[in-house]
């Protein structure tokens, strides 16, 4: 009975919207993010930024108000596909922000591209996903092929004893971790003259890493590279230290600077792990300081990497709506938004600063290097 009522009220909502919307000419933007499932933590960080942003910038001037339709993908590619369709066909959005994960973006981008609707992921980092879906797909996150070279160079530079042999651990089930651990990282390491002695996989959701670590122990590696989401990376780091592997650890950008990595690994085990991220919470940039303060006041928690990425993505989307004369009722609106993203050059986003999109549809900003010290991520110079 309750379902029927919800259905009826939804129908009523759609009907009234259809009647009113031409007059108001608000701008409808869809958002896809993981609110439940294993990525729920990322979704919560994004939601904090959405609340903060909408409290400040919902007004678009002559174009009316910014209206968001938010759907939960649960981190699943199949959901991302059907919700992208729903946003475009039923909700008539002008553009989509999301989805979060690379696996989801790989699945959802072709749908939006075929429907000629701009889609911008704030986070996915697997190389080539936007390039394969020109001209409508973009992302405001730097891809691993751009970040890894800088990250590895920085990691090697900070070691007291040089690293010559590395063992890679990667999550074979997560799209970006898998491509990073199997292709991108090995190429970068090889370019630095480092021998990759073994690549050992695990699966998203694993909690027992004893077999993988025991296998790695005998290989005589002097460095460890981990490409995995924060939970699995945390369990792996804990097991590495427990089995006595004390080699320096480099964790890829997949970690997304999530503090739960340190909780899961334990402070002692996580100490000294180096990682890269788009966001540096302790940056002295005034706009970052203001963002951290306002976010904390509004949400009651410190913003994470995913909060920062979503905030910038919303900022740039609003920039594209306001500077190109999008009205919310014109057929050319989608094209205007697309062309704005495609030609984005040095637009001053609040967190990342000057933001540009390259010919592949990817962002170009450089990563920050962060190291775990005393249970916190701090900038490593």
């Amino acid at each position: 009975m309750r379902n029927v009522l919800v259905g009826v009220s939804m129908l009523a909502g759609v009907a009234s919207q259809a009647l009113i919307s031409p007059a108001l000419a608000d701008v409808q933007i869809g958002i896809l993010m993981p609110k439940t499932g294993f990525g729920a933590g990322f979704g919560a960080e994004e939601q904090g930024s959405i609340d903060l942003f909408m409290s400040k910038f919902a007004d678009l001037g002559p174009a009316g108000k910014l209206k968001l339709t938010i759907y939960d993908t649960r981190g699943e590619p199949a959901q991302a596909i059907s919700l992208t369709r729903k946003l475009i066909d039923t909700d008539n959005v002008l553009a989509i922000l999301g989805p979060y994960f690379s696996g989801e973006s790989e699945a959802a981008f072709p749908v939006a591209n075929r429907a000629a609707t701009p889609i911008v992921t704030p986070s996915s980092a697997k190389p080539g996903i936007a390039a394969a879906n020109r001209p409508w797909a973009f992302r405001n996150a730097s891809t691993t092929d751009k970040t890894d070279a800088a990250l590895v160079a920085h990691w090697l530079k900070r070691q007291a004893t040089p690293i010559r042999k590395v063992v890679i651990f990667y999550d074979g089930k997560d799209a970006v971790s898998s491509s990073d651990g199997k292709a991108v990282m090995p190429a970068v390491l090889k370019a630095n003259g480092i021998d990759v002695v073994d690549s050992i996989s695990f699966q998203t959701g694993d909690v027992d890493f004893s077999a993988q670590v025991t296998r790695a122990k005998a290989l005589g590696a002097d460095g460890i590279v981990v490409t995995a989401l924060f939970t699995e990376a945390g369990h792996l780091t804990r097991e590495l230290r427990r089995q006595g592997m004390q080699q320096p650890i480099l964790a890829g950008v997949e970690l997304s600077l999530d503090h739960k990595f340190i909780e899961t690994a334990g402070e002692a085990a996580a100490e000294g792990v180096l990682t890269g991220a788009d966001f540096n919470r302790d940056s002295p940039r005034p706009s970052v300081v203001a963002f951290v303060k306002e976010y904390q006041e509004r949400v009651g928690q410190l913003p994470g990497n995913s909060s920062a990425l979503m905030y910038d993505a919303l900022f740039l989307m609003r920039h594209c709506i306001m500077t190109t004369g999008v009205t919310g009722s014109s057929a050319a609106d989608k094209t205007k938004i697309r062309d704005c993203w495609a030609n984005l050059k040095d637009v001053d986003a609040p967190i990342a600063g000057p933001s540009s999109i390259d010919a592949n549809g990817d962002a170009t900003h450089a990563p920050n290097f962060l190291v775990v010290k005393g249970g916190k991520f701090v900038v490593d110079r």
């Binding site: 729920a40 933590g41 996989s201 004893s210 077999a211 025991t214 296998r215 089995q243």
Partner: protein
Amino acid sequence: MILLQQIINGVMLGSTYALVAIGYSLIFGVLRLLHFAHGEVFMVGAFIALCSVWFLNAGPVLAVICAAIGCAALGVVIEFVAFRPVRRRSGGMLAPIVSSLGVGLLLQEVATNIFGADQTRFPPQFEATVYHFGSLFVTSTQLFILGTSFGLMLLVHLFISKTKYGLAMRAVAENVDVAGLLGINSNAVVVLTFAVASALGGVAGVLVGFAFSAISPFMGISMTIKGLVVMLIGGLGNVYGAMIGGLVLGIAEVLTVGYLASSYRDAFSFALLIVVLLVRPQGLFSGGLRAGH
């Protein structure tokens, strides 16, 4: 040396599988019925232990005892609410299975609402001490797990083979009607079976929580499937088969990950299951609770 360490890793993993599968087997042996919410009982055990640590400041032993008692009670409630009414009304296999699936989902949702969907863990004082023997290592948690699981397996063996209640359980497993004619209260035996099986499942949940410091409302899902595989490998309803089957599966999984790749782990486990079913369709140990005692 590496192989030996991997086998130790496998025994650790396998002993928790065995505890889950023993509970499964007890219920299947007595009732001829698959209890698909058993994995969720396992999950609830971990959360009960976590609460006992939070609110009663319990140590590992007390946490295990709390989980055992709590889950035994939960098992009895499940029998009264989800199995007995269904069993009484329909003679078929299907209704109780569906009913137990429902209980499983219910427990998952309740746990998600109370504790959230994220992984939680025991506080750091439960962190293991690591003992190194040359290039081999074991942790205090692992020894605790090993001791608890093998101790419980021995207790279950003694219970089934030496006590009056164990004898009654075997009689009911043999034939409910005949057992009733002989003066055994079969309903009481079923309740007892659920209590014992659920207590074992709950303890396994705590041990997994200790070992991998990962407790989540969804940790029971894969356990339900693994427990089923173990039971089929060991022989349907055979408690000793479940013990051996658990260890076999644990070692097989660890060796697959250690020498092949993690993506083959489940494929290999199920291949093992198919081979066992082809070569020995009754499982490694046949006859269930009815024979072999």
